[in-house]
């Protein structure tokens, strides 16, 4: 698709920015919230905020599935590793702080913790080393959960279990609307979560909350276009759900993936780092798959973890209440090389994205 280059066309970007500027006076102050680490990367990496008029602000909500894994669930993974079980996880998860230590620190202490690229790698490892017990630490939003479902339902080897920490995005978006002084005027919904769940779960935002909501892709023009569409709605006094990313997001999402998720998981309440407990926001394996549930199989359960260290303001960054550079630790005590908070650990954490693109921020 040679046409792909057009999704980064600077001339088109300037053109859209000019349109946003011309609508801004009519729209008034517009605060737009996205909930995806990849959107934050696009916005920061391409310096999109510098193209926006003063009255149009884009903030980052809880869009990094690694950052919002509560310390208690990192502690569970650490417990498994220290019990002699091989813990497999995505690379981003390794350095996320638990209450006492991260998985990387557990590994340094002798535990067998391995990075995998895909859950299928964990399945292959468990097959090849049948004398060992394996657990896959399943972190991620709706984009990632279907792959866990495929393997959990695919008759996995008996020496593999799943520590499921998947979370669902729409409940977190709804929570943000209840944060009184945040006062969001529009949502950019995450394109790849939406590739799975489709458009329906967002319908309540315009209908109940009068919140313009645009599902967007991840090229700079995609994101600018979504901002334009929200500002336009705001200027017209309307609130609609629109899809800027139809090349990937279909109204019904991915029915096959949804069916697999539904077969493998039930929806339950779950804790989010920096946010607390959100009803109907987490997935757990169905009873029929209980043999593969690491929590049940090994009896690990940590009720309360220490999510936020003293001085760290990840909890405010995660909900978009402050910008990373408003945290006193940002790039001082907390750096990508030596992160203190979860937002600095993951490559999609807001602080990490800002730290890596600091020249563009300046």
């Amino acid at each position: 698709m040679a046409e792909n280059l057009k999704f980064r066309n600077p001339e088109l970007a300037q053109n859209i920015a000019a349109k946003i500027k011309s609508l801004a006076p009519k729209a008034g102050k517009t605060k737009i919230c996205h909930v995806c680490g990849t959107h934050e990367w696009t916005i920061t990496h391409y310096g999109l905020r510098s193209l926006l008029p003063e009255d149009v602000e884009v903030i980052a909500g809880p869009g990094c599935p690694v950052c919002i894994v509560p310390a208690a669930e990192i502690d569970e993974a650490v417990q498994l590793a220290q019990m002699g079980i091989v813990v497999t996880c995505f690379g981003d998860v390794l350095r996320v702080p638990g209450s006492k230590m991260s998985l990387l620190e557990a590994k340094a202490g002798g535990a067998d913790v391995r990075i995998v690229y895909a859950v299928s790698d964990a399945v292959e490892m468990a097959k090849h080393e049948s004398q060992k017990q394996f657990a896959f630490f399943a972190v991620g939003f709706e984009t990632t959960a279907p792959s866990t479902a495929v393997e959990a339902l695919g008759n996995p080897p008996k020496n593999l279990s799943f520590l499921v920490s998947h979370r669902l995005i729409p409940p977190a978006m709804e929570l943000l609307l209840g944060v009184g002084d945040l006062q969001i005027d529009g949502f950019i919904a995450p394109g790849h979560v939406s590739a799975i769940i489709g458009l329906k779960p967002y319908e309540l935002f315009p209908r109940v909350y009068r919140m313009p909501t645009v599902v967007a892709g991840f090229e700079p023009i995609d994101v600018l276009m979504a901002i334009y569409m929200i500002v336009k709605q705001q200027s017209e006094g309307t609130a609609k759900l629109e899809n800027e990313y139809p090349r990937v997001v279909k109204p019904e999402g991915n029915p096959k993936a949804l069916e697999m998720m539904n077969k493998a998981f039930t929806v339950t309440g779950g804790n989010w780092r920096g946010i607390g407990r959100l009803p109907d926001s987490a997935l757990q394996l169905r009873e029929s798959l209980a043999d593969y549930d690491a929590r049940l199989k090994y009896g690990v359960h940590v009720e309360q973890g220490k999510d936020i260290l003293l001085g760290c303001e990840c909890h405010l960054v995660i909900i978009g209440k402050i910008k990373p550079n408003q945290c006193p630790m940002f790039m001082k005590a907390c750096t990508p090389e030596k992160p203190v908070g979860a937002c600095m650990v993951s490559s999609e954490g807001t602080c990490r994205v800002w730290a890596k693109n600091v020249a563009i921020q300046a």
């Binding site: 698709m1 046409e3 792909n4 057009k6 999704f7 088109l12 053109n15 859209i16 000019a18 349109k19 011309s22 995806c36 680490g37 990849t38 869009g63 990094c64 599935p65 690694v66 995505f90 981003d92 690229y117 895909a118 859950v119 299928s120 790698d121 972190v139 991620g140 939003f141 984009t143 990632t144 279907p146 792959s147 495929v150 995450p190 790849h192 979560v193 590739a195 799975i196 023009i221 276009m225 336009k232 800027e244 990313y245 139809p246 090349r247 990937v248 997001v249 279909k250 991915n254 096959k256 993936a257 697999m260 993951s346 999609e348």
Partner: protein
């Protein structure tokens, strides 16, 4: 972590497919979540194709952008 990258399906064997991420290097991905055929572009996330990319829709998006921008007065 919801990063997903487009790739072209080169061949399919059951639930597995070899895909090209644009540099001629083939990688094996799981295609059990999509109805993909050889020649399709799929969106790959953590080793699994999560959606087929509609080339027609992609081209329509480009022309839609242009038409929206043209239609709106400054």
């Amino acid at each position: 972590m919801c990063l997903a990258i487009p790739a072209k399906v080169m061949n399919i064997d059951g639930n597995k497919a070899n895909v090209d991420f644009g540099q001629g290097v083939l990688r094996e991905v799981n295609v059990s979540l999509v109805e993909a055929k050889v020649g399709d572009y799929v969106l790959v996330h953590a080793g699994y194709a999560i959606q087929v990319i509609e080339e027609k829709e992609a081209l329509e998006t480009l022309s839609l952008w242009n038409s929206i921008l043209e239609a709106t007065p400054e």
